[in-house]
């Protein structure tokens, strides 16, 4: 027995295993705030990442552009046909916007959950082990970013801010497997249907939209957007389209597969959505909100 415990290396190994378990347990606690040394380290590496990523992206982009050149003719033809529609669409938008403003003034609505100011940022790093779908962007507290803000590309929502440092911040993509990675969302069918984007099916590469009442009518092709009443997100940010509807694992509710409109793997420039309507203080969000507005 004694030689077994006398082995110094073995003791060291056991001690480090215990330390490992303790540290992991400490870190996966849901509401953990990053400590200042962590923030400092993330900021400093963010600086290096920016320095590396910019030239790499430049060269990568050059190759991509050469590839794009081949399709230019086809694209040009298609775009020309679209431009003609654009002018009429534009005047229509102008008219609707004016009408909307007038109606808003009539009703006396002050807050608008869909108003936002975008903060533009650039991706500087992606988590190399893909177990956690995190990306780092080059905007931080100094630029007005706070936790839980929505992040989108020009195509649609990609995730939310997980942690903020002074000059960089970490974005958790919608595809990340995390218990608290949920976004309140609306399916725009015949009527608005409220639910949660919660989870990601890696095999089908689609988001899961849960908590739909079985009586609700939801079809393939329906648009899914953010709800905006869940706290800090603005409403009407595009998430994707419904591809498939299935009963949930317990059979009580339905679950829809949503094809995200943004590509999570081809992210370059992002917008961080800063909501214009004030954010309710924590713990002040009443549970009945979603049902009330659904009526």
């Amino acid at each position: 027995m004694p030689p077994f415990f006398m082995n110094k290396r073995l003791i060291l190994l056991l001690a480090s295993v215990i330390l490992l378990v303790a540290l992991i347990g400490f870190s996966i606690k849901g509401d953990r705030e990053l400590s200042w040394p962590e923030k400092f380290v993330k900021d400093s590496t963010g600086l290096f990442q920016t320095v590396f990523h910019k030239p790499a992206q430049f060269f990568g982009g050059a190759f991509e552009e050469i590839g794009n050149l081949k399709d230019t003719y086809e694209e040009n033809k298609y775009l020309k046909s679209r431009v003609e529609q654009y002018a009429s669409l534009d005047s229509e938008v102008q008219r609707l916007r004016k009408e909307n403003d007038r109606l808003r003034a009539d009703v006396g609505a002050k807050t608008d959950l869909s108003k936002f100011e975008p903060i533009t940022g650039t991706l500087i790093a992606r988590n190399p082990d893909r177990w956690y779908e995190y990306i780092t962007i080059d905007r931080g507290k100094q630029n007005g970013v706070t936790e839980d803000m929505a992040v989108m590309t020009s195509k649609g929502l990609i995730g939310k801010i997980k942690s903020v440092d002074a000059f960089t911040s970490t974005v958790q993509l919608l595809s990340a497997q995390d218990r608290v990675n949920q976004v309140p969302a609306i399916v725009k069918g015949k009527e608005n249907i409220f639910g949660l984007i919660a989870g990601y099916d890696e095999k089908r590469e689609m988001l899961l939209y849960r908590n739909i009442n079985t009586s609700m009518d939801i079809k393939k092709g329906d648009k899914v957007v953010t709800a905006g009443n869940g706290g800090v997100f603005t409403s009407e940010l595009s998430i994707g389209t419904v591809e498939d509807v299935q009963p949930d694992s317990y059979g009580l509710t339905k679950m829809a597969y949503v094809k995200p409109s943004a590509n999570f793997y081809d992210v370059e420039n992002v917008f961080i959505i800063k909501r214009a309507a004030s954010v309710p203080p924590e713990g002040d969000v009443s549970d009945g909100d979603a049902e009330e507005e659904a009526k």
């Binding site: 190994l13 480090s16 295993v17 330390l19 490992l20 378990v21 303790a22 540290l23 992991i24 400490f26 870190s27 996966i28 990053l34 962590e38 380290v41 993330k42 590496t45 290096f48 990442q49 590396f52 990523h53 790499a56 992206q57 990568g60 991706l123 790093a125 992606r126 988590n127 190399p128 082990d129 893909r130 177990w131 956690y132 995190y134 990306i135 780092t136 997980k162 942690s163 970490t170 497997q177 995390d178 218990r179 989870g199 890696e202 095999k203 590469e205 793997y265 992210v267």
Partner: protein, 171 residues
């Protein structure tokens, strides 16, 4: 000046990982295949073979912690894995002959152990982890393929660089 050269090189590879995974698309891989660049671990193993294994373990601790803080925000996973694997590979290569091919082979073995270890942790803490078949097909094999190619490319320049560094520090 020479003292700072090695840390800078390791840091370069460390940051390369996050850039490569974003920008380098491997043509014949389908969309659902993930590869994880493990250049830092490869480099640490080279350091332990061609310079000194004590130095390599120190670097492994520092960069393991850095990996945890910067990329995953879950402390402890790589902080434990990098030193442990560097130590084992260093010991193994003391016994085996250390020509470049054997070093790469041990490196690949270390990377597979690391992948299995991280997968094991995911099984415990993740909500709906991949099943084993998917893990092996979509993660492990592409990762090994990419890293062995990258390893082949970087091992000779790094070998001459590291042995040169060792000679200079011994003088």
């Amino acid at each position: 000046m020479r003292r700072f050269l090695l840390p800078v090189v390791v840091l370069f590879f460390f940051i390369m990982e996050s850039t490569a995974v974003d920008l380098v698309l491997i043509p014949s891989f389908s969309e659902d295949m993930f590869y994880v660049p493990r250049f830092t671990l490869l480099l640490l193993i080279f350091v332990s073979v061609y310079v000194r294994d004590g130095l390599a373990i120190t670097y492994a601790i520092v960069f393991g912690l850095l990996h945890d803080i910067v990329y995953t925000e879950i402390l402890g996973v790589y902080l434990f894995a990098y030193p442990f694997l560097t130590y084992l590979s260093g010991k193994a290569l003391k016994i085996l002959q250390n020509n470049a091919f054997v070093v790469l082979l041990v490196g690949m073995l270390a990377i597979s152990i690391l992948e299995f270890y991280v997968y094991g942790i995911q099984l415990i803490i993740s909500l709906n982890p991949l099943n084993f078949y998917e893990f092996a097909n979509r993660r492990l094999l592409p990762t090994l393929a990419v890293n062995s190619i990258a390893g082949l490319v970087i091992i000779y320049p790094l070998k001459s660089f590291l042995t040169g560094l060792k000679r200079q520090t011994e003088d």
